[in-house]
């Protein structure tokens, strides 16, 4: 499916037609992508959006000629600057890559070589394509680093990647990609691993450079908010095919296809706050929690200063209430979760769960009280033991509590049914399940102990948006049904707005703002919260979207 010519646009810089890539035998479908066609013009940003397995990254890699050897382009044409580049010889593609087509990836830290200086790595691409005197290369390296707004380019060029933050590393990647002024920039989820404020800066930077250089951008992402922020035109992909394509305005505000509509409806957004639940006794009450980590060794005799991950945090959650804890990486929110779970020892402060002084319990008593508070972890691929069957995973906690095996199995099966899994799941291994299903298993493992407090640490952030909506609905349902106190930790303000009654905004180990979710996000008082809200990608579009009904997932 491709669009007809649009008279108002410049001639296409990149034109892809009927592109198909075959998957190796034994995969779940014969083609990774099939029938893909789109065009990108100068100064234009085309976003390819889709969920996991939609083939969006394969499309980007096929254009670059960087598919792994198991995947082969079997049909179609890729024309760049008027010339066919599909099947071009490797040497010709190498000349094109870097010079005419730049590329940036999701993990800047993985793309940079840890043992070479930043300056070296920027210079490398210049030397690979052009023969220039050393001074000229250096001048260009410094100019390139300055252009991506990195402070003190000269000092930075001499340092190694680990000295840089994630955002700075991604800026270096952009400097490398743009060192030779390519006509086309391909960006594959370049901001997904970044904090929301950093993401906003990187998106702005890409936009500025694009305008300055009249560059075309092919942007691959799963995040419709980012798409709304930057796209001129959009291609929506699913199962390796294009669902629909068109201008950003048309796709986002008047989607023609049912799938696009569902995708847009699944995006969490502000305005869903439910009426405040009736006042109930607090399930968990914490006062003055502190935790300081000793600084890492920096050289032989020096140490970096200690990091205060928690600097006096107090909080309370009532039965049936959801407390959101939001903040960027390094704000201490995960440390808070680990301390409440007693996985990491606190330095100071106390907390009680239904009156039990949980923070003061010693080992044997603690083991018996552990069922009161449980946690669902971020990564459902890492939080389930790959060598254990689901039955073992879910019943372990009950076995620790001394529940007889038959009884434990019965309760585990019940709980799997409650989280929406088939009883046959009991005998299977985690790798046989999808990410969303795995997270349901993790939820069942936590809930089977009938906890009074449940902590969800970024529990939906690794899931596709439609799966995310389902798992959020599940959290809300079990909270209401079991009168759980839910502590929901997330970096995603929209997710927090969707599920939380109250939120606590953390920064550098301190609570900077606290209040009902609706109020905090609608009228943030603290400058940091204001910056976080302002950085949400696509917030204007999210605010005006007409297709969305502000109903929060509320079963029953």
């Amino acid at each position: 499916m491709s669009e007809g010519p649009d008279p108002g646009r410049e001639p296409a810089l990149l034109a892809v037609r009927d592109l198909a890539v075959r998957l190796p035998a034994g995969a779940d479908r014969p083609f990774a992508i099939a029938g893909i066609g789109f065009e990108v013009a100068r100064r234009e940003t085309l976003c390819i959006v889709g969920e996991t397995g939609s083939g969006k990254s394969v499309t980007a890699h096929a254009v670059m000629g960087l598919l792994p050897p198991t995947l082969a382009v079997t049909a179609g044409s890729i024309r760049f600057e008027g010339e066919e580049i599909r099947g071009a010889p490797a040497a010709a593609m190498r000349r094109l890559r870097g010079r005419r087509i730049g590329m940036i990836f999701q993990e800047a830290s993985a793309a940079l070589n840890p043992v070479r200086t930043i300056g070296d790595q920027v210079a490398e691409i210049i030397r690979a394509h052009e023969r220039l005197p050393a001074e000229e290369v250096e001048r260009r390296v410094l100019a390139g680093l300055a252009e991506v707004n990195l402070p003190d380019p000269r000092a930075l060029a001499g340092s190694f990647p680990f000295r840089l933050s994630g955002g700075q590393q991604q800026r270096v990647m952009i400097a490398i990609a743009l060192a030779l002024a390519p006509a086309l920039l391909i960006a594959d989820e370049p901001t997904t691993a970044l904090d929301v404020t950093t993401q906003a800066q990187i998106l702005r930077l890409i936009g500025e450079l694009q305008a300055r250089r009249a560059m075309a951008v092919l942007f691959v992402t799963h995040d419709l908010g980012v798409v709304a922020e930057i796209a001129d035109r959009i291609v929506v992909m699913r199962h390796g095919r294009i669902v629909e394509a068109g201008t950003a305005d048309r796709i986002l505000n008047a989607p023609a296809e049912d799938y696009t509509r569902r995708l847009i409806a699944a995006v969490p957004r502000f305005g869903g706050a439910r009426p405040a639940p009736p006042a109930r006794p607090p399930a968990l009450a914490a006062a003055g929690l502190t935790k300081t980590f000793a600084g890492h060794a920096a050289g032989l005799f020096r140490r970096r200063p200690p990091v205060a991950a928690l600097a006096g945090v107090s909080l309370a959650v009532a039965e049936g209430e959801t407390l959101g804890i939001v903040g960027e990486s390094g704000s201490g929110k995960s440390t808070l979760a680990r301390c409440l779970m007693r996985l990491t020892p606190l330095d100071g402060g106390r907390f009680t769960i239904h009156g039990v002084p949980f923070s003061d319990l010693a080992a044997p008593a603690l083991r018996h009280e552990r069922h009161r508070i449980q946690m669902v972890f971020q990564d459902p691929y890492a939080s389930l033991n790959p060598r254990q069957r689901v039955a073992t995973i879910v019943t372990t906690g009950l076995a620790v509590q001394g529940v007889p095996a038959a009884e434990a199995r019965r309760r585990a099966a019940e709980m799997l049914a409650l989280v929406g899994l088939d009883p046959s799941a009991m005998e299977r291994f985690p790798h046989e399940f999808s990410g969303g299903q795995r997270q349901r298993i993790a939820i069942a493992r936590a809930l089977v102990l009938e906890p009074q407090v449940l902590i969800a640490d970024e529990a939906v952030s690794s899931l596709d948006v439609s799966v995310q909506a389902q798992v959020l609905a599940l959290f809300a349902a079990i909270r209401d049904r079991l009168r759980l106190a839910l502590i929901f930790i997330t970096h995603d303000l929209l997710v927090a707005a969707q599920i939380c009654d109250r939120v606590l905004v953390m920064r550098a180990g301190r609570v900077v703002e606290e209040g009902p979710a609706g109020e905090v996000f609608a009228a943030p008082r603290h400058p940091y919260t204001q910056a976080l809200v302002a950085a949400i990608p696509g917030r204007d579009w999210l605010a005006r979207d007409p297709t969305h009904s502000p109903a929060r997932p509320r079963p029953e």
Binding site: L366, R370, Q378, S383, P386, T396, G397, Q401, F429, A442
Partner: protein, 283 residues
């Protein structure tokens, strides 16, 4: 389950591993069955000495005391393999326990256990074994204990490294959150995930244990009541120029067996490493 099946397939896909396993199966079968068909003692001196191979009744001939070489070889296979396996079990038991406990509990436990490990690593292995065998007396058990004591540090180090990386995984945190006891977490959650590299090392260790035992027997420090390949080589040494086959035959047996075990070890490495396993299946 599917994992077990794919591991089997990956093992079979590796031609060297298949060859090695076939050879080992042959050795084990012969070692188990032949003494039943020919129940004489390998020490029995029933024939003329220095009979050449292919003599009637003595397929590989007889040695300087008129003992049947084939019978010696078969009994040698039994004890060489047995000593190899048992000393590997000893080594794994010590090494896995020390490495896992050190890696999981960290702190002073780790410090003490690792210093002990280093103590064993800096002593020359063969000298320590010889000392142990001399002190404990030359029995099969002291040889097994000696080899085990000398080889466990490498297992402990690998195990510790694996456990160090596994203990920070989320599924371990989840188990701690459920209240599982530390030792249960170590043995139920962590160990099954840490065993792959240890299994690979263990297969190679069987081979090196056979070599060490042969060396000891050659030096006359083996169990005098047990016929091993090393003893046969050592005993035939004075006649190397007149009857070199007496040393060569058990020597070849050692070479082939160790080679076969190493080939199986190689294929295990490949099969337990998913990325390499996929490559092997494609090839």
């Amino acid at each position: 389950m599917s994992r077990g099946r794919s591991l089997g397939r990956a093992l079979l896909a590796h031609k060297g591993g298949l060859l090695g396993m076939a050879f080992l199966a042959l050795v084990v079968t012969v070692a188990a069955v032949y003494p039943l068909a020919n129940p004489r003692s390998p020490w029995a001196m029933g024939a003329r000495p220095f009979l050449p191979p292919l003599t009637r009744g003595h397929l590989l001939g007889t040695d300087m005391l008129g003992r049947d070489v084939l019978l010696g070889l078969v009994h040698g296979a039994r004890f060489s393999l047995l000593i190899g396996l048992m000393s590997t079990v000893v080594s794994l038991t010590i090494g896995i326990t020390v490495g896992a406990v050190a890696g999981y509990f960290r702190g002073w436990t780790d410090e003490i256990l690792m210093r002990v490990t280093e103590f064993f690593q800096i002593i020359p292995g063969l000298v320590l074994i010889m000392l142990l065998v001399v002190v404990l007396g030359p029995t099969m058990w002291s040889v097994v204990a000696g080899i085990g004591v000398v080889t466990w540090p490498s297992v402990a180090r690998i195990m510790r490294a694996e456990v160090l990386s596994l203990r920070t995984r989320q599924f371990v945190d989840a188990a701690r959150g459920l209240g599982q006891r530390p030792l249960a977490i170590l043995f139920v959650q962590i160990l099954p995930n840490a065993l792959s590299p240890v299994i690979v090392v263990a297969s190679v260790m069987v081979a090196s244990a056979i070599l060490i035992e042969s060396g000891l027997s050659f030096l006359g420090l083996g169990d005098p009541n047990v016929m091993t390949w090393g003893y046969m080589i050592g005993a035939a040494r004075p006649f190397l120029r007149d009857a070199w086959l007496l040393s060569a035959i058990p020597g070849v047996a050692i070479v082939l067996t160790v080679l076969a075990i190493n080939m199986v070890g190689d294929s295990l490495t490949t099969a337990l490493n998913p990325r390499q396993a996929r490559k092997a299946e494609r090839a």
